[in-house]
Amino acid sequence: MKRAWFFVLLAAGCGASPDDLFVIGGRVVSRLGAGLDGVPVTVTRTLSAECGDGQQLHQQRTADGGLFSFDLLRVEVSPFYRGGFMCTRLGTGFEASGTTVWSDFYAFPNALTLPDFNDWSPGFSVAADGGVQFEPVVPEGTSLEPCAGNFPARETVVHAIRARVDGGLWWEQSDHQSALRVSDDGGVGPSAVGLSYLPVPLELPPEVLEDRAVELNLEAQRLGCVKVAGNGAGPGLAEPYEVVTRWSSTEKVLAQGHTVPVSRGARCLGLSFNPCPLTDGSPAPFELPETTNNLRLRLPYPAAVRVIVLRGAEVETGASSRLQLTIRSGDDTLTVQDDTSQVALDSIVFIDAERALQRDWRRIVLPRPMQYSDDIELELNRNFVRLGEVSLFE
């Protein structure tokens, strides 16, 4: 409201100054919540939409119980007349566990206290049946402070297992759990003061590994609502602000898949590539020459398709999470809908300065096998820009 009034009053084009200050601070703590002093916290910046380890701007070591605070100038963290994107990352690493934790920003509020950067050793393991065991990144019972007044305290914590083949991301699956607010009696609502994680079992179906030797590791993401501090100049209006914190554990598990898709080596009709990059067993994203919602495959041999796996399917942002798939196999046609709400950790992918895509990983089990055929057509309710791999299984 104040911002709107500000722009109404000063509609002559005044506004952002390169010297604007953003005061960003936080705390580095152990797994048990104790402040850790002497830990280096780094601010890095990339001159693109892709966040990552870029140019280092500032570094300081935590003190006074694990605290850190940076004064960032707008000119350092905003393109400011240059156009394009600029991503700023604040992060640190824990020597003992090897876990790194960071938060990425494309824009900053005036003053912000980040959620704690806490250490995390998940003790991650994968059972033979695909079940994944780990400790959650946010300890059970963590206190939750509401953002401001009646503004709901919202927390979403996602753990994702990531499978890599030849360094490329082959599969990502998360426990897509949210709404972690609980009250003393276990209910949820504005009065919630404790944070309890209600995990959904994470299992790796056999198809997702295919027959590849896969390196698995665990990452976590927390979407938290924090309070932007008033600066004391005006009335001190405090506003809620959402911050995403990411953890990447260095614990790794090697796994060997044994399932071969019937679509391996299939020809992609309509694409003049041989072998087809969508069925070659490589995770590299392939940019479709023209965005399309229709894929036609000529299998090496006829098969009755029952399971479909889409890897790294990237569409323009804003697509509905409900996927509708029509599969035609010979004379057989079946339409299914998949409501699986996958929360991909890097769900927004920038392919150029202006185009952002959302990336999806889907395993769709059909209610019945399709007709035996080698000619398979997939029609979806969205246009794909890029796709890693399409795998069909019997």
């Binding site: 409201m1 104040k2 500000f6 010297d19 000119v75 100049a233």
Partner: protein, 862 residues
């Protein structure tokens, strides 16, 4: 006087050679004889003839007039003087002009005796002489009956006259100063009683004469005082006296045409606005529109660009002090106007029986109708809204020797956009205030005591509506209550003023969302401000010295106190009748400032300390020939403690590197002002004002590398966000015949810094490693200036004088050339069409606001 004309031509005596049978044509009189009868030369009813011989040369001029008969010397001299001024068509001989002598007799008649009241047969003529188009009496007007040489009567103070005349037809001529003579024909019967009303047309239409009713304050300090057409007829001001301030030296504005004065480089909130010493939060509707006080309610506007009198406290830059019009007890006064966007009226009623005077005024806009047509024309899905109203009321009551006055006034503005579909939100900005002031003026001892009490309310903010209900609002409001005491007396060359004032301010901020209860509340802010002053003036001959001191206290409840002491000294000395010098110095304090005065901001920010300015000024006033005045002034203002908060910081919560310096910031402003003025006497008025000035603040800023990292921090004294080095105004107005007046205003200003505070931030092209050119923002000490700007305002009006009403039809256009002032630049990149590859071209596009304000209206005064 009676003019007697009798021409007798006896013979033409030709000096030419005898031409035998050549034709001789006598001279022909071309000009009328004007031979006034010398006073007392003849008794009533007497006559006399003066015979002269005139020599008329071959050009028709009279070169000699010689008496050819005896005549009283005084009549002879009058006749000679009159005939020497005659012109003739020269006499001709055979077609050629020749010199001739002719005989000429001038006949004089003494004044016709008028009957007296005792003459039972005489007609009684009574009447009143007034200025046409008004009800103003014309006193000391002379009435001449039937071209008599001496006036038969003279009007009294109320314009009344009385005459006894012979029955029959008479011609009455009425002559008065500053009026065109009037001639009236009357036919009277024996013993007839006839009452008439004669109306004379003013030679210079000036319905706004300033009438001085009080003894001028001899200790008035150096200031510019405007009156008459200088307040009402300046082009581009819509007849608003308070807008004329913007055209005086030392005054600039954030955007040309907007009436938000920046005086000598100070923040706009550092200038105080007062109506009869009651401070008001804003002067104009919507910053661009009419003033919040009806023009007829203002008798005088005093503008102090610096060193304002000590009675004005807690203000550190200029003071605009409007004096409410004094009550007039002669009759009812009414004026009203209507123009394209708003209408207003003023009514003043004296009640003689009770010694009461009541005046009310107000105006209201009907912009909705016009703007809805604009919205439809633009095919927009919303309608712009710009509604306002204001009101003033004054009741003055004599109580014995004292006078009680109640003054109430207020204003409301509503700006925004109303969605045509009620399902869509509509957004508005609102600003309103109300004031009520009760004042008593009591003669006490050798002087006058003034006691006053004021209450006020103001609110500013914004809100959104949907389906007729408020969805969200952010409003700041303030309730004020205060009192003041002042005593003034004079003894010989000394004039003493003492006084005190106290004001309590209670401010609230509220943010409400319809979908949730208020998520934001700020404890009510309570501020108490008090002050006391003493001023001693010494006025003796050419020297005037005024020394004053003021103390103020500031309290932010419960326990934050600030105190200040403001000494001031002003001296004026008239070196010669045409040259006066003046100088002044003073210390001024004020609560911390935002760009504009907002409720709560000043009291709430007291923790920052007080804004402190030391002012020095000196100048001369020179009276030039032709009634011109030249004012030269120099000033230096040292901001010892610049407590000017960033509006961005207040509104968005984002602070800057520079804000870290706020607690120790200083600044300065200095300059030279010139004003050449032709005061409003007669048909012409105008002035030329020029300011050369600089306003600076100590700033902390970053210096960046080409890849936008911070290289270092610097501090330097840099131009203020509103600094404009050159400002020139040329104002001129002239009254043409037939009641037509024209005026024009030409304004030029140099640009302010493109520092990013109220504009874009200067960027320059930088070549990157991969050969591209990108915009690179520059540090604060390297910014450019926005381009200079000029505009032309024009006003034309035609006055129609009816019997007791004058109507003025006017057209006043601000920025008649519709020029756009560049207020910011847009830096970006454009794809180069038709070129292979991703080629982008850096672009720098000026963006301006075409502020054009035409005002077409009709005003009537009765």
């Amino acid at each position: 006087m009676r003019l007697g004309v009798l021409l007798v031509l006896l013979a033409a005596t030709a000096r030419a050679q005898d031409a035998g049978t050549a034709d001789v044509a006598p001279p022909e009189q071309l000009s009328a004889l004007n031979a006034p009868l010398p006073e007392g030369a003849l008794d009533a009813g007497a006559t006399a003839d003066v015979a002269l011989e005139l020599t008329v040369d071959d050009t028709g001029h009279v070169t000699a007039a010689d008496a050819i008969a005896d005549a009283p010397p005084v009549l002879l001299e009058a006749a000679r003087a009159a005939t020497l001024a005659l012109t003739f068509r020269p006499a001709t001989l055979a077609g050629q002009p020749v010199t001739v002598k002719v005989r000429y007799v001038v006949h004089f008649e003494g004044p016709r005796p008028l009957p007296t009241a005792d003459a039972g047969w005489a007609a009684h003529l009574t009447g009143r002489v007034t200025s046409k188009g008004t009800r103003d009496a014309v006193s000391s007007a002379s009435l001449f009956v039937d071209d008599a040489g001496t006036p038969a009567a003279e009007t009294g103070p109320n314009g009344d006259f009385e005459l006894w005349l012979e029955p029959g037809k008479h011609t009455l001529s009425v002559r008065a100063a500053a009026h065109a003579p009037g001639t009236f024909e009357e036919e009277l019967k024996p013993r007839e009683e006839l009452q008439v009303a004669y109306r004379l047309v003013r030679t210079v239409l000036n319905p706004y004469e300033t009438v001085v009713r009080d003894t001028a304050d001899r200790a008035e300090q150096a200031r510019v005082q405007l009156s008459g057409p200088e307040l009402r007829e300046v082009a581009g001001t819509q007849g608003e006296p308070l807008r004329v301030i913007m055209l005086l030296p030392g005054v600039t504005t954030p955007l040309s045409g907007i009436s938000y004065p920046i005086v000598r480089g100070a923040s706009p909130a550092a200038t105080g606005f007062f109506l009869d010493d009651v401070q008001i939060p804003q002067l104009y509707h919507l910053l661009l529109g009419p003033s919040v006080i009806y023009p007829d309610f203002i008798d005088r506007v005093d503008f102090y660009s610096s060193n304002a009198p000590v009675r004005f406290g807690r203000v550190t830059a200029g003071v605009v002090s409007a004096a409410a019009a004094k009550s007039r007890d002669d009759r009812v006064h009414v004026s009203a106007y209507v123009d394209v966007l708003n209408a207003g009226a003023f009514v003043e009623v004296p009640i003689e029986k009770t010694g009461t005077n009541i005046a009310v005024a107000g105006r209201v806009s009907y912009t909705g109708l016009v703007l809805s047509l604009v919205g439809k024309a633009l095919a927009a899905n919303s309608t712009p809204v710009a509604d306002f109203y204001d009101y003033q009321a004054r009741v003055e009551q004599k109580v014995g020797r004292a006078t009680l006055r109640l003054l109430a006034f207020g204003s409301s503005d509503l700006v925004g956009s109303r969605a045509d579909d009620p399902m869509n939100p509509s957004s508005f900005v609102t600003s309103l205030f109300h004031r009520a002031d009760l004042r008593a003026l009591i003669p006490l001892g050798p002087g006058t005591l003034e006691a006053g009490a004021t209450v006020g309310f103001e609110r500013q903010g914004l809100f959104t509506e949907q389906l007729g209900q408020t969805q969200a609002s952010f409003l700041m409001s303030r309730l004020t209550a205060g009192g003041r005491l002042r005593y003034r007396f004079e003894k010989g060359p000394l004039q003493v003023k003492v006084g005190a004032d106290l004001e309590r301010q209670q401010s609230d901020i509220g943010l409400e969302l319809r979908t949730a209860s208020s998520l934001f509340t700020v404890p009510r802010t309570l501020g108490v401000f008090g002050g006391a002053f003493a001023e001693l003036a010494f006025v003796e001959g050419p020297l005037t010295v005024v020394a004053g001191v003021r103390g103020d206290s500031y309290l932010l409840a419960p326990s934050l106190y600030r105190f200040s002491v403001d000494p001031r000294l002003e001296a004026r000395y008239r070196l010669t009748p045409w040259l006066m010098a003046h100088a002044g110095a003073g210390l001024f304090h004020q609560a911390p400032l935002l760009l504009i005065n907002l409720p709560v901001t000043d009291a709430a920010a007291l923790a920052d300390g007080l804004h402190e300015v030391a002012q020095l000024s000196a100048g001369v006033e020179v009276r030039l020939p032709w009634g011109l005045e030249l004012h030269l002034d120099g000033f230096y203002n040292a901001l010892l403690a610049a407590r000017e908060r960033s509006l961005q910081q207040f509104a968005s919560g984002i602070s800057t590197l520079d804000d870290r310096l706020a607690a120790t910031r200083t600044g300065r402003s200095y300059g030279l002002e010139v004003m050449l003025r032709a005061p409003a006497k007669g048909r012409l008025f105008g002035w030329l004002s020029y300011s050369l000035m600089r306003s600076e603040r100590l700033r902390r800023f970053g210096v960046y590398t080409p890849d936008q990292t911070l290289a270092e921090q610097r501090e330097a004294m840099l131009p203020f966000a509103f600094d404009q080095t050159h400002v020139l105004n040329l104002v001129a107005g002239y009254q043409l015949p037939w009641g037509v007046k024209v005026s024009g205003t030409f304004h030029v200003n140099s640009g302010r810094p493109e520092s990013g505070e109220f504009s874009s931030r200067t960027a320059r092209l930088q070549r990157t490693d991969d050969g591209l050119y990108v915009w690179q923002v520059v540090p604060l000490d390297q910014v450019d200036r926005l381009p200079p700007f000029w505009r032309l305002d024009l006003r034309v009006s035609k006055t129609f004088l009816l019997n007791e009403v004058s109507l003025e039809l006017y057209l006043d256009v601000l920025n008649v050339a519709a020029r756009q002032e560049v207020v910011t630049y847009s830096y970006g990149y454009a794809q180069l069409a038709g070129v292979a590859g991703a080629t982008v071209l850096p672009t720098k596009t000026p963006q301006g606001i075409p502020l054009l304000y035409p005002s077409l209206g009709l005003k009537g005064v009765w």
